[in-house]
Each structure stands twice: as C-alpha cells, then as structure tokens.
Amino acid sequence: MPATFTRHTVETERKDTGFGGKPPLDRRPTGGGGGDENWDSHHSRRRGPREQLIRYRMAIFSILAADFVFFAVLVSAFFVRQSAGHIAASENYVSDWHPLSAPPILWINTAILLLSAATMEIARRQLFHEIDIMEEWLGLGRPAVRRAAPWLIATIVLGAAFLAGQWMAWHQMAQQGFFFGSNPNTYFFYLVTGTHAVHLLLGLGALVFALIAMFRFRRVEMRQIAVDSAAWYWHAMGLFWLFLFVLIAFFQ
C-alpha cells in the first residue's frame, strides 16, 4: 500500500503478556520513525508504506547534508578570500578583490528556479494525494501520475530554462572580459555558479528519471519514491541557489 498524506492512528499498545505482575514489554513504536505504522511487529520490507520512503529520504537527506557542507565551505572561502589583503611596503592596504556586479539576468534565473520549485512541489503532492493514489494502487487507472506529469514536465522545462539562463550569464560575463582566472572574485562567480549548475544538471537527470519512472515502474510506492527523492533534491538546490545568489549579488 502506498503512503498518503492522511495518517491513520495505529494501535501501538500490546496485549497484556498474561503473567500478572510483569509490565508489558514495550509500548513505544521504534524511535526511527516507523511513524504511522506498527514498526514493532513487522520485519523490514513488510513495514508498510513508509519504511522504503524513509530509507530513500534518509539517503537523499544525507547527500544534501554533504552538499550543504560543500557549499558552506565554498561560501566561507569566499569571505576569507574577500578579506585577504596585505599591508604593502608603502604602508597601504592592498587587496586584489574587485567588486563584481552580477549580470542582471541572474534575477530572472532566480525567479525561474523559484517557480520550478513550486511546480515541483505541486507534482510531488499529486503522488501522495490519497484518493488518486489509492485508485492507482488498486489498478483503477493512473489519475495521480496523469495529474503529476504536466507539472513535472513544467519543472524540467523551467530547470532547463534556468541552466540556459546561467549559460547566458557566463556568456555576458565573458563578453565583458571577465573569465575564470581574471580576478579572485570571478573565480568565485564561476566556481559557485558552475558547481551549482553541475548539481542542477544532476537534478535535471533525476527529474527525467522520475518522469520515466512514473510511467514505467510497476509498483506505486516506487513511483512515489522516485518523484519524492527528485523533489527534495530539487528543493534543496533551489534553496542553495537563493543563498548563493544573495552572496553573489549583495556581498561584494
């Protein structure tokens, strides 16, 4: 049975063990978030809809934690490099940091990415909508997938538009004569946007995979997992971009 938004309260109380004074063994569900299912009495893989979802979300969140550190380090390197000047022999403070005015197209790109996050979330929610997903699970057509697909395609188109916009931003920078090695600030511009673009390219791959998975995967739960994992990754990339954009645009 697939996971849905509506949670049912499941009885976690055990029966009395029948030995009079002895307290029941354990009334708690497993701490790991069996959540709405009775984790205690089932083996893994038979724990109901959320177990697999949790496993994949755990992996995605771990990757995102690693990614977070990756970008956090990059941002801290930015600030260190920005303040790294020295006192020259002439007793003047010398710094080779030239403030950079970000290409205005980045504003449009940011808006596009935010919009894509919204469409992604709508697509994700379709897959967890109880009535639709239960119909799919029972084999009565594919209402959830049919409703999610346009939003997912919209996300892919918007994501591709964002990447194209980034490409144009690099092009504009290059036309103004700012290349990767031009000055410390441009290293960061290209490094930040470049690594983020690589991440987003991977995300785009995940979205396409999720789109195919929605139509090809036989198990409804796996369709949910494909879309859900891609969605969380996409949201995180959107969030990271917001921070990186603020860094590029306002912290020169």
Partner: protein, 550 residues
C-alpha cells in the same frame, strides 16, 4: 570476478579487509624505511641507493596518507560495519547494496591512484599528509609536487566520494532497517558509534572534497585561493596571489579532526561491547555511553583549530579552540571511567580479543593523557611539530585504533571462517605487540620534550644538537622492527586458522548477546544489548531470546 563485483555486504567486508591489509603492509614497510633512514642515514637501500631528504619526506607523506585513510578509516568504518552491522540490527542486507558496492570500487580506485604517485615522474609528494600550501600549490616547490601531488589530490577526492556514499548507506541502514523491537535504546554501542562516525564522515569529507577541488584549481586554473603574495621558488618569483594558506589549514583540519574521531569511535564501540562480554557485566551506564559517543562526535566538529596554534591564527581563537578541546576530554573520560568500572569486580575472561580490547584501553589512556597538554596553546607553542605530537597521535589514534581492529578481528573471525583463531599464537602476538608498541612510541615523548622536530630526514650532521638523542632513536628503530615482526605471527595465525588448523567454533563461541551471533534470520528483540550476569537463570540473555518471565 563474481566475488569482486558482489553486492553482498559480507563479501564486500572481506574485500575491504584485503584492501586494508595491502595498505597497512605498504604503510608499515614505508615506516620501517623511515626508521632505517633515521638510524643509519648513509645506508643504501636496495634498488634505490641512499635516501635523499626529499625521498624521506615522500615516505612520510605516503605513510601518513595510507595509514589514516586506507587503514584507520577503511577498516573500522567500512570493513567492520559491512561485516557485522546488518546482522547486529537484524536485517539480511544493507539499505542500498549497489551503492555500497560502488563505494568499495571507488575506494579501490582511490588506493590505486595513491600508489600510482610512487610511479610519478618525480616520485610521491613531499608535503606531508596535511599538504599545506604553498608547498602543495606550486609544482616547482619540490620533486613529487607535480604529477605526484595531482595524483594525491585525485586519490583523496575519490576517497571522499566513496566515504560519503558508504556512510549514507550505513545511516539509512541503521535508521530504516532495524528488526522488530530493536529501538534506538536497544542498539549495541558499536552501532551507535557507526551512526555517529557516519554522520561525521558526511560532514567532514565533503569539506575535504571541496578543499581538494580548490587546491587543484590553484594548481591548474590560475586561481589563488591558497596562494599568498610574494612567493619566491628557487629564485623565481611566483605570480601574486593574495590568497590565504590559512584557509587550507582551516578547511583541512575541519576535516582532519573529525577524521580522528571517525577512526577511533568504532574502536570505542568495539571496546564497550567486548569489555561487557569478557567481564560478563552489563555496560553500567548505557545511556551515558550513548550520550558520550554523540557528544564526542558533536564536539569533535569544533576543535580543529588546536592543530593551528602556531600557524598565525588569532591567539584568541587559539584560546577558544583550547577550551573546546579540553571540553571534549569530558565525554572521553566518561567513557574511559565506565570501562574501568566494568573491569572493577568484573569476571574477567582473558581471551585474545579481550586482551586486545584491554590494549586499546591502555593506549587510549596513555595517549589520551597527553591530549590536554597539547590542547593548551602555551604548551603547544613549544611542543608543536616535535616528536611529542608524533608520540601522542601514534598512541591515541594509531595504536589504540589498530588494537581495536585486532580485537574486532579476533572476536569476529568465527563469523568469517566458522573457526576461532589460535589462542596461544594470539596471546604471543598481543604481548609482543603491546611491549613493542610502547617501546616504539613511548620514548618519542622524551625525544619530543628534548626538542626533536618532526619531518627531519636525519639528526646527524654538522650540528650536534641532537647527538644525545641518537641512542633513543636507535632503540625506537629496533622496537619498531619487533612490532612489525610480531604482525607476521598475526598473519600466520589468520591463514593457519582459516586452513582448518583450529577446531570448528560453536555457534556463539564468546557467549555474546548481540545479534550477529544469533544465526536467526528474522530475530525479534525485546530487551537491551548487554544482558550479562543479570538474570537469575543462566549467565547471559542474548537479544534474540525473549525475556524470561519471573
């Protein structure tokens, strides 16, 4: 071939162990070459001739890298969890078997890349396993800093990737695949350690990954993240950078210090489990131990600056890092005291794994006691980069880590081969190793206090400052030989016991309570992991057996 490309976690564990064995043998041989060179500097090596100073530095770099990454990280953090973690939480497989297998292959590629640095045109890199810029950022600064350094960085980047993948698999496995009834408060302490060190791995190794990428960019793309102004190499002024070498130090040690805990936390978990088993006493403060493990992991993220007291960091920052470092000795001491309480009035069974667990405890205390000394900026100003530091981390990380690995290997060997290892050989191996390890690393404290610096290729020369330390050095070298020779006994024991020289082990040879010994495919758990000597009937209550009604 089929064995190599398996997704079965136990087969992968064996692959990891073999990889670790290759690395530890190479690393040990390198360290012996270093010892020989320090004691007899003019001795010509076969196939090579006399060692030049830069060759010595290459040995230092490769020894450190091999041991820290491919032995002390790979074996406790990859091999052991693959061997027992799924069984200890009562599941038949990992959360992501193919990801797990991919992590092994990336690790193997990383090791090959690192070893290829020996074959690089000018040899292996010479800037130590920490590779501080500008030495590591400019190819002209020395032999091995060209292609060798690139290979090192590539190898480490691959290793970071593998470590992150393998850790997220472990995290997902622990969180989502525990068997019925195995709540978090019923997990064995080994599992808690792997949970903590996996979280640390994900944070620390991603920082190293980006640092390696930035350094590669400095070397090849004309950037200057780490390159300062006014560098002159061999009379050639380098392009001005205004970058900051300190940035590399911060990034590297932000990885480097959690890495120490990644290496030692699994060992601490193994020690807790083994001490409980072989003293037949429950872990007296289970929740405290869990808390201490998590706290060590958490505090471990905020102490990296104590590696940089004399590198030009703001002295106030030094004080702060000194404080956090002293703070981390609180949970560490809590664990040590708990172990001592377990020994006190415990019914000790001095089997080989127990002896090695006690050896771990001994080294952890001996090496740990010098930690708070080095954590004080004022004292560290004198001791920094002396052999005192070498003694400290070889005892508390290297020897404690390796002894916990031995303890684990002797303890879990029946799970691999169905036979216990030979006890007599094991005890000989233990006693020689213990004495030789102290003989090797303890005198280094004295040499360090006398001011002997690290990374010097030799002490003899026109200046006689360290002439009186040469007898100590010679003693250390002989002791190191003995330590290495004792490991031959261990290798012999492994192969001899595997080839049916010892009788077949009972299903639960150590009378342990944790699930890896159950042999039950779908266990259900109803109580904690260390029920030794507390039940009225029988000496222990395994986790796969239900609690008996009174």
């Amino acid at each position: 071939m089929k064995r190599l490309f398996t997704t079965d976690h136990r087969a992968l564990a064996l692959n990891y162990l073999i990889l670790g064995l290759i690395a530890v043998i190479t690393g040990t041989l390198l360290s012996l070459l270093m010892r020989i060179h320090r004691t007899w500097p003019d001795l010509a090596m076969p196939f090579h001739g006399a060692l030049r100073p830069e060759d010595y530095l290459a040995l230092v770099t490769m020894h450190g890298t091999l041991m820290v990454f491919f032995v002390l990280t790979v074996v406790p953090q990859s091999a052991f969890p693959n061997l027992v973690l799924p069984a200890q939480i009562g599941t038949e497989r990992m959360a992501f078997p193919r990801l797990n297998s991919a992590a092994f292959w990336i690790t193997a590629a990383s090791l090959l890349t690192l070893l290829a640095a020996f074959m690089a045109p000018e040899g292996a890199p010479i800037s130590g396993w920490t590779n501080y810029p500008p030495l590591s950022a400019i190819a002209a600064t020395g032999p091995g800093q060209g292609a060798g350094m690139d290979l090192w960085l590539l190898s480490i980047a691959l290793f970071c990737l593998a470590a992150i993948l393998s850790s997220l698999n472990l995290l997902a496995t622990i969180v989502a695949r525990r068997c019925p009834g195995l709540t978090f408060t019923r997990l064995p302490l080994t599992v808690w350690s792997w949970l903590t060190s996996s979280a640390l791995t994900i944070i620390a190794f991603s920082a190293l990954l980006i640092a390696a990428a930035l350094l590669l960019s400095d070397r090849h793309c004309g950037t200057s993240f780490f390159l300062p102004t006014g560098i002159v190499v061999n009379g050639v002024p380098q392009p001005n950078g205004s970058g900051s070498p300190m940035l590399w130090l911060h990034l590297f040690w932000f990885f480097g210090h959690p890495e120490v805990y990644i290496a030692i936390l699994p060992g601490m978990g193994i020690a807790s489990s083994l001490l409980a088993n072989f003293t037949r006493r429950p872990v007296p403060a289970y929740r405290l131990m869990v808390l201490a493990t998590l706290l060590i992991g958490f505090l471990g993220l905020g102490v990296w600056g104590h590696h940089m007291f004399v590198s030009g960091m703001n002295p106030y920052a030094g004080t702060a890092f000194g404080l956090t470092t002293i703070a981390i000795s609180v949970p560490s001491s809590a664990e040590v005291l708990t172990w001592l309480v377990m020994l006190f009035r415990g019914r000790l069974r001095l089997t080989t794994p127990m002896l090695f667990a006690l050896g771990f405890l001994s080294f952890f205390i001996a090496g740990g006691l010098t930690g708070p000394i080095l954590a004080q900026p004022a004292l560290d100003a004198y001791l920094h980069n002396t052999f005192f530091v070498v003694a400290h981390f070889h005892l508390v990380m290297a020897m404690a880590g390796v002894f916990s690995v031995f303890a684990g290997l002797y303890y879990w060997y029946p799970l691999i081969t169905g036979r216990c290892m030979d006890e007599t050989l094991g005890k000989i191996h233990f006693w020689i190793s213990l004495i030789a390890a102290y003989g090797t690393f303890f005198p280094m404290h004295l040499a360090g206090l006398a001011g002997e610096p690290r990374h010097y290729a030799q002490l003899q020369g026109p200046v006689e400052s360290f002439a009186n330390l040469i007898p100590v050095e010679r003693g250390i070298t002989w002791s190191a030989f003995l330590l290495a020779a004792a490991q031959l006994i261990f290798l012999w024991n492994i192969f001899r016991s595997a080839r049916r020289a010892t009788p077949e082990a009972a299903p639960n040879p150590w009378q342990a309570t944790t699930l890896e010994w159950s042999g039950v495919s779908h266990p259900t758990v109803s109580h904690g992991p260390y029920d030794y000597g507390t039940v009225s009937t029988g000496d222990f209550l395994p986790q796969w057996q239900p609690e008996k009604p009174f």
